[in-house]
Symmetry: C2
Subunit: 362 residues, 2 copies
């Protein structure tokens, strides 16, 4: 596990190739603005010095390190994934090198270059986009790859771990429908993310099954942060016919929805029901405790790590996509609507909370 090849620095390789270090890192980065002859010469040297695997084959020597690359390190969500990856890798004596990469990251080296610089055996990429070029580059470097919650649909042969987002979307919506809500606002994450699309589709099909028409006005998209939930909820509450319940795409969005409700003078859940997504540890400590769709984030991290280590052991990938199940955790942020809209029926008693606790604290 502890063997590492001794290698010259990129500067040395640049000197050998008679090019600038910048050119060498261009080649490592798979950039196209390098003359073919130069690229070949540099790649040959990189290969001979063990920076690139021969013909893209896995490096024969194992470093005992893997890279965990996250789109952001700015939410409790990230630490849940990290805990799972770390716990599983620790059991196998493997270290986890953690990096944050923003979509617009201009910071060298670009993420797909990190495993090479860290001498790690593989990379777990979390909620990030991946281009064909980046993928090809990891192949050249002989780096194993597993995705968690990929933004865009990965190739069939790449391992990816996620949760049953569609089922989670239907479960949350069915719960609100069962309470009597008909105007249900949906706040997704970024519209182009797979998990967002699956959750919105689950929401849609639950409404359709219940014979409730889908109102495009009630579906909003934003980032997964507090700010996104706050802004989208304000928009929804400002509608001529505002929703009586909101299904947020993340627990943090739900906290933003809480604050938008508070600022509008609405009580949760008496005046507005809120459902989150993720089930972060804080949910049961919010005021009121948040009803949310649990996705097993730590377990997703564990499974991703296990899958990566299996790939490194040369075991075949049984299935490219693994989805762990979500389930609804009902707490105190959801209640019947104060006034049930058409079909006409007597208004519910003011503040129809099913539980006193959720009303106790300001």
């Amino acid at each position: 596990m502890s063997d590492r090849p001794s290698r010259p620095t990129l500067a040395v390789i640049a000197a050998e190739a008679g090019v600038s270090p910048a050119t060498v890192s261009k080649v490592l980065n798979g950039r196209t603005d390098v003359a073919p002859g130069t690229r070949e010469r540099v790649e040959e040297l990189l290969r001979s010095h063990n920076y690139l695997a021969p013909g893209g084959a896995r490096r024969s020597r194992r470093s005992g390190l893997v890279d965990l690359v996250l789109a952001g390190l700015d939410s409790p969500w990230a630490v849940e994934i990290l805990r799972g990856v770390e716990a599983e890798c620790a059991v196998h004596g493997t270290g986890v090198v953690v990096s944050q990469v923003h979509e617009d990251d201009a910071r060298p080296p670009s993420w797909q270059n990190l495993p090479v610089l860290h001498h790690s055996d593989g990379v777990i990429l979390v909620t990030s986009r991946m281009t064909a070029q980046q993928r090809a580059q990891l192949e050249r470097a002989g780096v194993a790859l597993v995705l968690i919650d990929p933004v865009n649909l990965p190739d069939r042969d790449i391992a990816s771990i996620g949760a049953t987002n569609w089922a989670g979307g239907t479960a949350a919506t069915d719960h609100l429908l069962a309470l009597g809500h008909r105007r249900i606002g949906m706040i997704g994450g970024p519209a182009d993310m797979l998990c967002t699309q699956a959750r919105v589709d689950g929401y849609r099909s639950a409404l359709e099954r219940a014979g409730v028409e889908v109102d495009r006005d009630l579906i909003r998209y934003g980032d997964f942060r507090h700010e996104g939930g706050f802004a989208r909820t304000r928009e929804l509450l400002a509608l001529p016919d505002p929703p009586t319940a909101i299904f947020a795409g993340s627990d943090q969005q739900a906290m933003g929805a809480y604050q938008a409700a508070r600022q509008a003078g609405l009580r949760v859940p008496e005046d507005l029901s809120v459902v989150g997504f993720d089930d972060l540890p804080m949910c049961e400590w919010l005021s009121p405790p948040l009803t949310t769709v649990r996705q097993p984030l730590e377990e997703m991290g564990r499974v991703a790590a296990r899958t990566l280590l299996q790939l490194l052991d040369g075991q075949p990938l049984l299935t490219p996509r693994i989805e762990l199940s979500t389930d609804l955790r009902i707490r105190h942020s959801t209640a019947p609507p104060a006034i049930v809209p058409s079909p006409p029926s007597p208004p519910a008693s003011p503040g129809g909370s099913h539980d006193g606790r959720s009303r106790a604290v300001a």
Copy 2:
């Protein structure tokens, strides 16, 4: 940066030394139950194979990796520190290997062994205990060390980063005193932690300056989690003469205090004021938004990383202890007490919130 020595596995070294691999790892772990002669022979081999630095001097070759070892990866607190360490190291092209270690961790390898296994140049140890034996072992391995919020007082010559916990304790207590509170409950973290002692001392001296007698009954200790804040607050509220305000040792404890208040039918801040510690990003999104003592966690991570990299560059340690300043963030969880106890004065208007927002939502 990318150079790594090629090294045989511990099993090979064990064979060379004519001992069991277990004995080799005992020596690496600095265990005392190894015959002196055997230890010398094994240490000699470990040194010759670059597992131990010659005479404890820093390894001449740099791996471009550092270890970040946290006592726990189960709170948003950890990710704030991690973000700072990662950001600073990324600028210097250094990878961060993240590990979680519990006080009672039986999982091999013990944390002080991780830098050797990861070939990292140094370790940042967060809110953990360190024994003289562990310290000596890092010395033998030639691993640089920086502490963040050490549990116990480190030797004078070890770099440690913290916040001005004493000043934070006085600021929080002065704020509550200025609002008119006299019965102020204090919830610390574990009693044996440096940061806890500093905060409690700050609380005490603020009370004494204000001529308010310190009531030992109002000072409680517990872990920094929601559960600890919840349990300690319930105890405090059950006192014959309960506090009108609570200064919690962490934002998570403060969330626990919110729930204990809610379950007791008390409103925050009208019936009970709550101050937290840390200023996690979620604080402004709580119901009500939490007044708390900010400690610059990300900056603490950055400074720790910068200090470690300076040590690795052979720069002298200017000062062993760096404390970054805390400051009070006043939001909506604190208000004058509903009834001000002696010295006698007219009772405040019921629900003396200084801001409507903090009363809006259930």
